[in-house]
């Protein structure tokens, strides 16, 4: 027992103060935050540059109003209008379109809009741009044209413009999600989508990264042959247990750090992002998931002789276990689908899928229990097999054992 503790402490202390660990722990929340908020920030913030738009008005009546509304409605941060409109008034509409496309080709204007003469009847407008990805610009131009046409139609029908504006005003759409306990939680759609994914990432990094550190640690002692000195002092079981324990605490430290970050953000935003109920499940799935993965990774460390060899095998497992991330949008939309439930019983995936569902408040108790049972059994089997493989393989050099040999070791006592 003492030896296990000595090894666990050494593994924990030497890793936790390594630059690599500190950087990788810190970088994930930063990168995540970047991924989550940067695109939103970019889209939310008014464009920094003024856009030049050409307008070809087939009706010859709407251009003034178009300019008026678009200047009023959309401004840059510094208060300048966001759009500068050039109204093209050539002899014919065709000539105007020609001019406009020349201007567009030579990158003088960003887009041009053609309002045909029969707009009131046909209800068709064409918007030309080199790049249609910026849907914000298109939306704004469309909305301006809609407003003009609505005004015009209301006037033509002899109705009171102000009254109609009053009557057709848009509803304020506030989104509220009802939690498991029935309390109402006010969340924006984006947050209820992102939180479960962040949950998966937190657990994924804590489990997979500490398992990878474990693999590297076993491999290192094998390649520098320190394992001989170690095994002349402690038994292979003590060595493996000490490493798994020490690096498990390393992963737990990382997870706790993420949870503290999460709680701070929850408190700051005034949202119930991370509750004590979540924390409990995080701890449970971390312990079980880590047991399962660390068994596999420590066996890999003992079997393979070089990091490259082992890394290939590990990347396959990592890809399988990152499946929940890739599939998270499916699960979020279909949390109770049969596919979701079946996949959540595959031990490689269970911890991540379950924490994803728990992040959404979805899984019924039976689902939690049945998937956890599968995971517990797999974790125990993984530890057991890893112990046997580790003991046999740790001192074998030169030849990589074949799969039948490995199976033989596991079977033999």
């Amino acid at each position: 027992m003492r030896n296990i503790f000595v090894i666990a402490r050494w593994e924990y202390i030497t890793r936790i103060r390594s630059k690599w660990f500190i950087i990788s722990t810190l970088i994930i929340p930063i990168v995540l935050a970047g991924f989550m908020f940067l695109p939103a920030l970019l889209m939310e913030s008014p464009g920094a540059e003024m856009k030049l738009i050409a307008l070809i008005d087939g009706t010859h009546e709407l251009s003034d109003r178009f300019e008026q509304i678009i200047y009023d409605r959309y401004q840059l941060k510094d208060g300048q209008p966001k759009y500068q409109v050039i109204v093209l008034r050539n002899h014919t509409v065709e000539k105007s379109i020609e001019t406009a496309s020349d201007l567009l080709d030579s990158m003088i204007i960003d887009a041009y809009v053609h309002i045909p003469a029969d707009i009131m009847k046909e209800n068709n407008v064409k918007y030309y741009s080199r790049y249609l990805g910026n849907y914000r610009d298109q939306d704004e131009v469309r909305s301006v044209i809609n407003s003009i046409l609505l005004e015009r139609r209301v006037e033509d029908a002899g109705l009171d413009t102000q009254l109609v504006k009053q009557l057709t005003r848009r509803v304020n759409f506030e989104m509220i999600e009802i939690g498991r306990t029935g309390e109402k939680k006010q969340k924006s759609e984006i947050i209820s989508y992102i939180i479960p994914i962040i949950f998966v990432l937190m657990l994924y990094f804590a489990i997979v990264m500490s398992s990878q550190v474990l693999l590297r640690s076993v491999l290192e002692e094998r390649t520098n042959r320190l394992v001989e000195i170690l095994l002349s002092s402690v038994s292979s079981t003590e060595l493996m247990s000490g490493k798994i324990l020490g690096l498990g605490f390393l992963g737990l430290t990382q997870l706790l750090f993420y949870m503290i970050c999460g709680s701070l953000i929850s408190a700051y935003k005034g949202l119930d992002i991370l509750t004590s109920y979540h924390i409990l499940y995080f701890l449970m799935y971390f312990v079980l998931g880590y047991m399962f993965f660390s068994g596999i990774f420590s066996a890999f460390g003992a079997i393979f002789t070089s990091e490259q060899d082992a890394q290939q095998a590990v990347s396959i497992i990592s890809i399988i276990s990152v499946l929940p991330l890739l599939m998270s949008s499916y699960v979020i939309v279909n949390p109770t689908a049969t596919v979701t439930i079946i996949l959540s019983h595959i031990p490689f995936i269970t911890p991540f899928f379950m924490i994803l569902l728990i992040g959404m408040d979805i899984p019924p108790t039976w689902h939690v229990i049945s998937s956890s049972l599968v995971l517990i059994v797999s974790a125990v089997l993984s530890m057991f097999a890893a112990g046997k493989i580790f003991r046999t393989a740790i001192l074998m050099y030169g030849k990589r054992p074949t799969l039948p040999e490995i199976i033989q070791w596991v079977k033999s006592s």
Binding site: V6, T14, N224, L226, E228, I229, L230, S232, S233, V234
Partner: protein, 298 residues
């Protein structure tokens, strides 16, 4: 101290160690020698309980080995490495605590040996900053930090420069005078001749020579003598035995172990005046080569 009884180990159907028996007397410096691949490292790994023998018994102090006996053994493996990224002193302390020392005791011993091996200024440096020779010293410190009574050194001189070989040799002599038992394996005969009292030579996993170094040398001695004399060589022509060579002022030849050099000298002395006598002992290296090549021939 340590007894091996008919110990065998088979790897992939070839016997790495074959029915090996020897006894390491307490307080002796025991040399385990043999060419590369003879089974030295496998034997040591079995003594260290890193691998289990397929057959035979290994006894320490007459008892089968148990985990707590290892607290009393220091081991320097042949293939050596260290945690390159870790600091020197804390690594030594770690291995000390694994051997059962308290952290404080381990630190105390670490300081002592760092001083002795002239490594004090590196105590808080990363191991990768040390030269190879210095890293080897660190490995030696790790092997002995817990003051074991039995020290097993697998090829300890390999890769050390002459100065550090001398430091290590002094250490071994110091341990010997402190009554500790030392086993070391090497193929450097010169070191064995200077340090060991008892040797076991193995080849292809089998024991080919075993016993006190002195006895072995005598037993295998094709000792040679060389006598220079003043006088007429004809005067001693009648005492010449088969294989001896007689020159104008010199007589030389081989003596087997049944012959006493004094008898030869007496005969020569009675006829001529002896000016110089040389008795040339065979080197262990020669015995080693003879044995190994003999083994191949067989």
């Amino acid at each position: 101290m340590i007894t091996l009884q008919n110990v065998s180990k088979v790897f992939n159907k070839t016997a790495a160690v074959d029915e090996l028996s020897f006894d390491v007397p307490e307080g002796s410096v025991f040399g385990l020698l043999g060419p590369n691949g003879a089974g030295k490292t496998t034997t040591i790994r079995m003594i260290m309980n890193i691998i289990q023998p397929d057959n035979g018994a290994i006894l320490i102090g007459g008892k089968p080995i148990t985990a707590d006996l290892y607290r009393n053994i220091g081991y320097l493996p042949e293939e050596r490495g260290l945690y390159q990224k870790m600091k020197l002193k804390e690594t030594i302390i770690y291995f000390g605590t694994l051997k059962g020392l308290s952290k404080r005791e381990s630190a105390k011993q670490a300081d002592r040996y760092l001083e002795q091996f002239d490594l004090k200024s590196y105590a808080d440096r990363k191991i990768e900053e040390l030269s190879k020779g210095n890293q080897q010293k660190v490995q030696f410190v790790i092997a002995i930090i817990h003051q074991p009574d039995l020290i097993i050194l697998d090829e300890p001189f390999a890769g050390l420069d002459p100065v550090n070989q001398l430091v290590l040799k002094d250490m071994i002599s110091e341990f010997q005078s402190a009554g500790k038992t030392i086993i070391f394996s090497t193929h450097q005969m010169e070191q064995i001749e200077k340090l060991c009292s008892t040797i076991c030579m193995i080849n292809n996993g089998k024991r080919v020579l075993y016993g006190k170094l002195k006895d072995i040398k005598q037993h295998y001695s094709n000792r040679k003598f060389q006598i220079r004399f003043d006088g007429n060589k004809e005067q001693i022509a009648d005492i010449i035995e088969n294989g001896w060579e007689l020159y104008d002022t010199q007589l030389s030849g081989a003596i087997d172990r049944n012959t006493n050099i004094n008898d030869i000298l007496k005969k020569v002395m009675s006829k001529v005046a002896i000016s110089h006598v040389d008795i040339i002992e065979p080197s262990l290296e020669q015995i080693f080569i003879d044995q190994v090549q003999g083994g191949i021939k067989r």
